[in-house]
Homo-oligomer: 256 residues x 4
């Protein structure tokens, strides 16, 4: 990792906000992306440069040039998943495989990009009664859990429950409980290609979850964890290798 | 797997029962081991021969001869873990590494054998207020979850909560929620050597959990899953292999 | 698992064979699918009914009706991946998520269905010099490794080498070495939705690998392992659950 | 992680060296521990303070005070595993569970501490013919693989081959091939309690492997990866938690 600041991009479909929903705007006058970006700036300081993009921007704000200048992408979407163009999804996918980190948030579980990275439906059970969510750490040594209380208490949240149709996670960091009795694997990690993926479910447009200091800390920890370990490159390719190629002058190729 | 019946041994420290605890004896007049053995016989029928052994038996009922005739061992212990001899623990450990399956139940999380198999403290958080436990399946395609309702409802149970200090499981099958809000990874699997390990937490001496039909089904499924895939042998050894040993007359050795 | 025979379908693009390639036809006069189907019939006997389908069949031989009658699908493709229709791929994908097992073979690593299930490029390094491949078992207790020698010796094979761009496997069963010095994770498993996925790399159209008795055994073991544990259903869906739904009359729903 | 330098301790049984073995002393005049410590100092610079300890030191150089001042321990042993006292092993084990990182090297696979952390025999196949070892990266995005060529070429090494009797790794980073055709999972990671464990097999007393610049880089990367994420504490304990304990004044406890 170089000492240059991490280039972090917070993407939000920004539909609830621009539809004038008073509850959402009450919590997030600058949009969910604005709240998250502010939180990351506060936590990461000079270690990161944080920008935002939304669905209505040209190319959804995710042009080749923008992605080429992004180390970690955060993704929030809910009611407009199908308005995200397949071309942009393919572009984001390739960038993740090349090494860009991605944090998929809450209802982003049903986004095209997350389903494509997972290979499953990513479906779940849900209910929106404003229940208390308790977020329990099951991997206390993991960098994403550093400085996080046991449990995180979120007074009001949408319920997300099992079964959550995801692949067996590489690492399970958080498991949530809801007042109604359901549980949910709320913080899980994967590697896809050279890119790191962190899904974190707390955060709904109807509740001020992204103003919760512990949730903000998890997001900041997640960004640091998902940061590329080396340069982000093109996605991996199938290559012909002649016998003993690695003995040739100039030797072997960089692995990581 | 041969068509011979599985040889299943249910081990119980049997201390609460023989101490005359009226609550425990009310639930388990034949001991916890008796109740579990009856349940397995009912579920597995002619596919298994189920016997029992307890702490006070000679060699804790776990002599070399007994272990050599055991395919799957179930382990229940609570207040007498330190009375189990290290020699017997080493013997059970070697048999698991050689291929015997083992189901570790409830307070067995703190048994010498489980801690030795895991390499961690296996500590957890606990409270005994007779709370409702909901056991949620997170791996619905797993053989151990077949025929199990979502969720299993246990009206009264001891609370076991995270953080549970175990290695990241090979497979996470069940996660439990308790009325007080805690969660617990209540059904997890591991492989150690050639042996399969299933830890399942529901089941306490003060509540009739082992009479619950869904819990009984999980135990029966667990026994089938943990059954050795081939003959159980000695634990693996470090061997010298001459160059090209696998090309010698008689060829290579069996892997599985 | 019911006692009804497993319904196994071997799919092959069947392009090398129908193009009249004499080397391929020399090894596989009935097509690669024919050789594999014969091998599975020999190993599985009355436990399975084995049929075949190819790219040129209507709907590639993978109509809704055919898939609805398939428990385990084997997939071999090489030079015609892009001729497989996206609609059929989506159909197979949904069936896997619903519980159908799938074995992806050799150059099928680059098939649309495997890449969709994995979420990565599935690219690798390769060379076709007819080198010896040694297939080493690293999970001897796994059902897929039962009866398999250590190592399997394949006199001539195409080299497939790391890095293989796949997600961290749920289970790594086999690792191969080639005479040129490369290694490859040649047998790996995943679960996706309710379906089990086994990728196994040995097997090329230019060499008689599918006539190798040990390779045939692995395929047969793989089919048994990938068999659905319960009924195959639709892919999982996102559902609304009212508070305390599981306490309602009729109780909870089947998990597995 | 604080900005204070990492406290790294390289432990070596130091028996080959002090027995006057001319081959070993030729490669390692300051002992294997001396060579490794020098390499770590060169790579880590001001980020670490590197010290050494050996078997013949009082308490093997692993007193409570020394361990309390150690963030990451490296362990090399071969012919004197049984001379390491059980008391010291228990102490190191507890410190790892409390958060100290540990790198177990080469023949340390058979050390008491590694077997205790793994719960398996950690046995393997071996041969010492001075064969070429190729170390292939299978997790190029992992921090331990950064800056490492694909493959690392070690001209002469002892062969370590599968089956290696370890638990399924949390992460598989490197797989080695030997000229004789064997493969070995040569770089694997685990978490035990709050501590991170990295086993790395290249490195034998008869060959100058620890002078190989790529091997040195892996060790330095491994030390950084294994560094504790927070303060190292006592090993986790089982605690009683009253209902709603997390709502009490002062709130919940730190998770990570």
């Amino acid at each position: 990792m170089t000492s240059a600041p991490l280039r972090v991009l917070v993407w939000n479909e920004n539909v609830h906000e621009t539809s004038g929903d008073p509850v959402v705007l009450g919590h997030y006058p600058d949009g969910i992306h604005g709240a998250i970006a502010d939180a990351l700036r506060a936590h990461l300081g000079d270690d990161a440069v944080v920008t935002t993009a939304t669905l209505r921007d040209p190319e959804h704000g995710l042009s080749d040039a923008v992605l080429a200048a992004t180390d970690v992408l955060l993704w929030w979407g809910h009611i407009a998943h199908d308005q995200v163009s397949d071309e942009v999804v393919a572009r984001v996918h390739a960038r993740v495989l090349g090494g860009m980190g991605i944090l998929v948030l809450h209802s982003g579980h049903y986004s095209k990009i997350f389903r494509r990275l997972m290979g499953t439906t990513c479906s779940l059970k849900w209910r929106n009664d404003g229940e208390r969510e308790l977020v329990w750490t099951v991997a206390p040594a993991h960098p994403i859990a550093q400085g996080v209380p046991q449990p995180i208490v979120i007074p009001q949240q949408e319920m997300y429950g099992e079964h959550f149709d995801i692949p067996e996670p590489d690492e399970s960091i958080f498991i949530s409980a809801f007042d109604g009795g359901e549980v949910f694997r709320s913080g899980v990690t994967y590697t896809r290609g050279n890119g790191r993926v962190f899904y974190f479910s707390p955060g709904d447009q109807e509740f001020p979850v992204y103003h919760h200091p512990d949730i903000q800390r998890v997001l900041a920890n997640g960004v640091r964890w998902a940061a590329p370990r080396g340069d982000v490159g093109p996605e991996p390719t199938a290559d012909y290798h002649a016998r003993a190629w690695f003995e040739a002058a100039g030797g072997s190729t960089p692995a990581g």
